[in-house]
């Protein structure tokens, strides 16, 4: 009886959240129905008005400006012709450039935050592995940045974004205007971009550079997911080739279909499926691709020696440092503020002020994700497991990534909480039923919850977002099933999930199968038992520790 209660508790918790959500939604609808405020008076500014503007003198500024009231004035506006003085055209042009500048800086800073997530992934994955493989795991996470970046510069970015529509928030990026399409059954299907190889030619452009940096760090996030799932037995050379393949081909092609103007994004325009496949910041594009590829690679590489007994019972192989695991989770949660709010590619105009809402949604889903996982583990196993609670945080963040720009806080709370439960169930399924060894839970955190995040857009999108009046070429706001949007958006999301499974998984599997034939994916049994630090990297991560043999081989117990 007690066990029954334990198994029902998570479901009851979700129900309780839904009950809380209903009146909140009703309040939102009531507020939406309130009469609109009177419109502000129109302002007609003329060049004559500019003559009355006074600016601080050089003497005033020379005294210093501790209050910040003098610095930045009309004197700082760039004039096209100083002899003619300040004109209305100068002011208007400055306003336009300021808007683009704000968006450039916002997108770049968000990209820098996402880049820093590499450090978070490195800590999480290394901490969850045994000490004898710490150098190897860290070096995979370190160099995946370089391998991925190079591959993406050579061809990945062009395949992904080479045919995307002009990005108005970044002032154009107009050179990215060539998408390879095919006509099939009366519809146009965008397959891959054709401009931007090596960032050369017309793509040597300021807006394109900003877009490249931001998209590159997203791609690299997908790559680093795989290193966790295949850790502790993946040959370094195979990892390098596999990462280049993912960054150059698999990721960019799917990302083109979703974000670069490809056929998935056009499901709304072509087939009337809502706004087409909607993935605001990449639950599917980044985490789904990474998690699904992690599954394919893990199948090929196989479980670590000692993970399963002969009858298939899994052995626990705990990581060596929970401190760096949870520190890594915090770094990732911090970086996610670049991941999701940054995906507006703007802080000014086109509804980009929704970045505040997106940031709060991100916080909440991460919070409830960790909450869900903690509850599940506590009820099922009697202890609030630290590593799974950390994974719950990440699962909530992964799940909210796609819907973050389209849902309310109530929706994000539910999405995150479900993700926290889902990651625990999925880890058990992958380990015990599929018997796929995933040392860090990457398949469940990123794959399972990436798919959940994609689907949740079709359920929870509340129809209030307005990014320039349309999304994926379809006018209006993205609206899910629970908010009166019908089933069309949900179907589009399922087609996206089907493509992740049918295309990304198949391509990743075949690509890594070929790599397995050519260089071999798995390290030797002797190297694995010794730990990959010395055989693969030539140095121990913790040379002053004494590594004592464990039940499965050598070197997982540390002593000073």
């Amino acid at each position: 009886m007690r066990n029954d209660w334990r198994s029902l508790a998570p479901a009851l918790a979700v129900l309780a959240l839904l009950v809380v959500a209903a009146p909140a939604r009703a309040a939102d609808e009531a507020a939406a129905g309130a009469p609109a405020a009177a419109e502000p008076p129109a302002v007609a500014l003329t060049t004559a008005d500019l003559k009355g503007i006074t600016t601080p003198s050089a003497d005033d500024l020379a005294k210093g400006d501790p209050g910040g009231t003098l610095t930045g004035s009309a004197a700082d506006i760039v004039m096209a012709d100083p002899k003619a003085g300040l004109t209305l055209a100068d002011v208007v042009n400055q306003v336009g450039q300021n808007r683009i500048a704000v968006n450039f800086v916002w997108t770049l800073v968000a990209g820098f935050l996402v880049m820093f997530m590499q450090a978070g992934f490195a800590l999480v994955e290394t901490g969850l592995c045994r000490a004898k493989n710490a150098n190897h795991t860290m070096m995979m996470n370190f160099m995946v940045y370089g391998f991925g970046l190079f591959a993406y510069w050579v061809c990945g970015f062009a395949l992904q974004m080479g045919g995307c529509a002009p990005s108005s928030t970044l002032g154009g990026a107009n050179p990215l205007n060539s998408e390879h399409t095919i006509a099939f059954l009366g519809k146009t299907w965008g397959l891959f971009g054709q401009h931007g190889f090596f960032l050369s030619g017309a793509t040597y452009d300021v807006a394109v550079m900003v877009l490249f940096l931001f998209q590159m760090v997203f791609m690299d996030t997908a790559l680093t997911i795989v290193t966790g799932a295949a850790a502790e037995r993946w040959k370094y050379a195979a990892f390098a080739i596999s990462s280049v393949f993912l960054g150059a081909i698999t990721y960019p092609v799917f990302a083109n279909w979703a974000w670069g103007g490809g056929w998935l994004s056009q499901l709304g325009a072509n087939f009337g499926l809502g706004h087409g496949y909607c993935d605001f910041a990449g639950s599917g594009v980044v985490h789904g691709v990474g998690g699904i590829t992690a599954l394919a690679v893990s199948m090929i590489v196989g479980p670590r020696i000692g993970k399963y007994t002969r009858n298939g019972t899994p052995n626990a192989m705990p990581g060596h440092d929970i401190v760096i695991v949870l520190t890594g989770c915090f770094i990732l949660a911090f970086g996610w503020f670049g991941f999701n709010p940054g995906s507006t590619l703007a802080a000014s105009g086109n509804g980009a002020l929704r970045i505040g809402s997106i940031a709060v949604n991100t916080m909440l889903a991460g919070c409830t994700g960790s909450f869900g996982a903690l509850l599940y583990m506590w009820m099922r196993y009697g202890k609030p497991d630290a590593s799974m609670t950390g994974n719950g945080l990440l699962a909530g963040l992964v799940a909210i990534t796609a819907p973050s720009g389209f849902v309310s806080t109530v929706g994000s709370v539910i999405i995150g909480f479900v993700a926290g439960l889902l990651v625990c169930v999925s880890v058990e399924l992958v380990e015990r039923v599929l018997k796929v060894d995933d040392p860090v839970g990457a398949i469940s955190v990123h794959g399972t919850n990436g798919l959940w995040g994609v689907i949740s857009v079709g359920l929870f999108a509340d129809g209030t977002s307005n990014y320039g009046g349309s999304w994926n070429g379809v006018a209006g706001s993205v609206t899910g099933l629970f908010y009166g949007g019908g089933a069309g958006q949900l179907v589009a999301q399922f087609i996206g999930v089907g493509t992740l499974l049918g295309f990304v998984f198949a391509l990743s599997y075949m690509g890594n199968w070929v790599i397995d034939i050519i260089v071999g994916q798995r390290s030797s049994a002797a190297d694995e038992l010794e730990g990959l630090d010395i055989p693969e990297m030539g140095a121990l991560c913790y040379p002053e520790f004494v590594l004592k043999p464990d039940a499965f081989g050598s070197g997982s117990v540390k002593a000073a």
Binding site: M299, G306, Y308, L434, I495, G498, L501, G502
Partner: protein, 62 residues
């Protein structure tokens, strides 16, 4: 077995997309898409079982 699994994975995707071309009734499209997903999952399970059959731990009993 691996070939069959991979075929089902890709076939499921084809089914899901094919549903869009076959009908404009949204609920039918939804059903076909779900059937496609189920097919792909079945394919992944088949592919995985082929790997598990030859798993190291089965052969050596670590």
């Amino acid at each position: 077995m691996k070939g069959l699994g991979l075929g089902l994975v890709v076939g499921g995707w084809m089914i899901a997309v094919g549903g869009l071309l076959a009908t404009e009734v949204m609920m039918v499209r939804l059903g076909v898409a779900l059937a496609g997903l189920a097919t792909s999952f079945a394919g992944m399970a088949a592919l995985n079982s082929a790997h598990v059959e030859r798993a190291l731990w089965k052969a050596r009993g670590h």
